[in-house]
Amino acid sequence: MRTMNKNLLRSVLIISYMIIIAIIIGGISSLFGYLNTGADRASILHTEIQKIDQYIPEVIWAPLQNEGRPMDEQTLKRIENNYLDAWYVKQVAYKTNTTNGIEDYYTENARKNLYNTIAYNTKEGVTTEATTLAHHPTLEFFSEDGQLAVITDTNVVEYKRIYKDNILVLETTEVATYTIALLLEDGFWRIRHMIKDSHEPYIETANFGETTEVSFKGINYYPQATPWDMFGVGFDPEILAKDFKIIKDAGLESIRIFVPYSDFGKAHVAIGKLEKLEQTLDIALQYDLKVMVTLFDFYGDYSVLDWTLNRRHAETIITTLKDHAALYAWDIKNEPNLDFESRGKQQVTAWLQMMTSFVKKTDPKHPLTIGWSNAESAAILKDQVDFVSFHFYEDINILEETYTSLKKQIPEKPIVLSEFGMSSYRGIWNPFGNSEKDQAAYHKEMQGIITKNKIPSMSWTLYDFVEIPKEVIGRLPWQKNNQKQFGFIDQKGDEKAAFKYISNE
């Protein structure tokens, strides 16, 4: 008994000894490990910072005629990047009233000015959402040792939204001119002084309502096999040619297609996708069809700091296509009013206002519209479009009345019905749905109303689809199945009864 106790005691002692040793060794090794960690030496020079495009307003440098040392392209680009980053961190700082990133882009003395603003605004509950849309910098001076630069940035277009206690109190667009001194410190061009020299109100220069020619007979188009993914791997010019021939032969004169924002590469539009889009227009031209291009599909952010990226995206697409003979019109965004609830009506309309002006300025020749999902929203921003467009999936009996009242409301601009249609889905998810016969009757009646009232219209859509991506309508099978059967041609490729009424000829 005694020896057993002794052995027990011994083993307990040995085990506890081992545990203590293990803890000590573990502690020492983690301390050693901690002391061996630290900043990577390469980080001293900030060479590893990669440029992510988060703020890319339009920047147009005046020709270089600076005093001091001659400037080289590379340094100028570096100054530009750091200068724009300085604006970006400032916008983020004022939006959140935090100081992240300011250290990198403002010198020690200049930082204080931002910190003071943040301190005051925090106390007063003021936040600012802002972005600059255009910069016109001139390099005034570059020091002989390459460490100091002075620029004047004229006509900086700045959009601001001021909130007090989280309530929007002011929305303003301003044009200002600044003189800025920058110093090269730690590999960053940092702002040392910034002085506002002048201030003017922003004047809208885009002219709407000058190009109002509309197409009277059109259709919304997606290829049957690749709906909502028209420019993906399944892109096939032969299918497009075949479909466009069907559309043309049916007596229609225009199509409406969609350019998805993220899929096209956001601010950096993928060349491959853009070529496919151009090719689509080329094929449309062969069949004498006009194309309405709907931008910003599947985009729903609208936040102010996203604006410069959105503009770059739009600019790339528009400048590529604006001289194309098949281009009919720009639809800025499909059914933006559906985002009113989640993003705020004010936020969305401000974005639309900015984008319509921008698109109009980039391409003044082609008409521009916004594809509202219903007639109630159609009057919003009616002065910012060349023709008004709305979608109609409601009771056919109120269309005529809806249209005439809208016409009365907006007498000066054409009003286009850019989506209408009926699903012929009747199945387990919707046993009392419309049949193909109902669909045909609907289109027949629609064509009657359209002809009678001379409504420029585009129906939804050429094909019944087999597969619909979940991003479009969600996963719910009754919605999905319903969405699949809006076409004039069924899943097997045969014309449905409604095909007879695809056009009013």
Binding site: Y94, N109, L114, I118, S143, E144, T172, H193, K196, S198
Partner: protein, 403 residues
């Protein structure tokens, strides 16, 4: 004609009256600005006063060079008062304001810097320049007031600079925040002292070194203890004082390389750096008669003349003795120029051939004027060998030596 004049007068009258009525209407707005001052000095209190007919308290949006905010008013008997916060009134530039909810009531005022300079932020570079009246350094000054605001345009800045005996004072003016002055070097090297002054505030002293320009061609000289090729003494090579084209001694540490070409066309290389314009390099004496041709270069900039020096042979003949069944070879005595024993360390080379094949080369250095080689049995089994001894350019060959 008269009739027409009256018409015109009536028209003008109507125009004037409409304008006055228009102005009257503006004044009739509920909230109007009372403050008339639109120019302020930074650091002063800016109070915007508005006359108001009711108790509504609209916020004032306000934006300056660095940021924006909204200000809550104070309502007093005489109207609404908005005190512009310090972070705005402390900074130079245009301040734009707008009454929220009365967006047509808007305006601007300007903050001007104080008329006193408290800091002369100075940037000078490059910190070293070359003599010769071509290269220059640039002084950039940002005079700022107590609240870190740059001075207005065209503020005079005096730039003082002294170089050797000459002291100059130039005036420059601020343009777009900064004032700058290029200061060109003179033909002399030395130190440039620079300072600046703005509105009676002086900067501290800054210095820029004016370094000599690149050296011009130079000459070289040689110094040696004797002219004999004893393989022991050291020959020193010197440059003349290296100077730039303006006669300035080049900076200490200028690297000079000496290239020595010997009789056989091989190149020896030695180098040194300048101290007070002179570079020194050394080379050990050859161990046989030689003629060296020497030329020095400051690479890519300047070169010297070519000079030749000769070394005389010291060892005329070598005695070689075989002992211990030819397995010990004793070379010596090796005698120098006064028949003294050559200093230790003189090279002697032994080559052993079997027939025409070289078996081994052994190199030894002398000690006390002698060198001895042992040919070990383990390495060289018994037989006949050819043995060659080479030293001081002398070669002796012994054929059919039996070991």
């Amino acid at each position: 004609m008269k009739y027409k004049k009256i018409h015109i007068l009536i028209c003008i009258g109507i125009l004037i009256s409409t304008v006055t009525i228009g102005q009257h209407k503006n004044q009739g707005d509920r909230i109007t600005l009372v403050t008339t001052q639109t120019e302020f000095e930074v650091g002063s209190t800016v109070l915007l006063q508005f006359s108001s007919s009711d108790t509504e308290l609209p916020l004032l949006y306000c934006s300056n060079s660095y940021g924006s905010t909204v200000i809550t008013p104070v309502l007093e008997d005489l109207g609404l008062y908005y005190e512009i916060p310090e972070f705005i009134t402390n900074k130079k530039g245009i301040v734009h304001w707008k009454l929220i909810g009365h967006e047509s009531t808007l305006g601007m005022f300007t903050m001007h810097p104080q008329e006193r300079v408290t800091s002369m932020e100075t940037y000078i570079g490059p910190p070293t320049i070359e003599a010769g009246a071509i290269d220059y350094t640039m002084l950039v000054v940002i005079p700022t007031d107590a609240l870190d605001n740059p001075m207005p345009e065209n503020t005079s800045v005096m730039v003082n600079h002294r170089f050797l005996e000459t002291q100059k004072r130039d005036e420059v003016v601020t343009n777009k925040i900064i004032a700058y002055k290029n200061i060109t070097s003179e033909t002399k090297s030395g130190r440039l002292f620079i300072s600046s002054e703005c509105l009676e505030t002086n900067s501290k002293e800054y210095t820029v070194d004016v370094l000599p320009a690149i050296p011009t061609d130079f000459t070289i000289s040689v110094d040696r203890p004797h002219e004999y090729a004893d393989g022991n003494q050291i020959t020193s090579l010197y440059t003349s004082i290296l100077r730039d084209q303006y006669g300035n001694e080049v900076s200490d540490g200028t690297f000079v390389t000496f290239f020595i070409t010997n009789k056989e066309g091989n190149i020896l290389k030695t180098s040194g750096t300048t101290v007070q314009g002179i570079a020194t390099a050394t080379m050990i004496h050859p161990d046989q008669e030689e003629a060296w041709s020497i030329k020095a270069y400051v690479q890519g900039m300047a070169e010297s003349n070519r000079m030749t020096i000769a070394y005389q042979q010291v060892i005329k003949d070598v005695e070689i003795a075989f002992a211990k069944a030819n397995r010990e070879i004793k070379v010596g005595p090796l005698k120098s120029f006064m028949n003294q024993m050559i200093p230790d360390g003189f090279h002697v080379v032994l080559e052993i051939y079997k027939g025409d094949t070289l078996l081994n080369t052994e190199t030894k250095t002398s000690k006390g004027g002698y060198v001895s080689f042992m040919l070990k049995e383990e390495m060289y089994i018994s037989g006949t060998y050819t043995i060659k001894i080479k030293t001081a350019g002398i070669e002796k060959s012994f054929k059919n030596i039996k070991l």
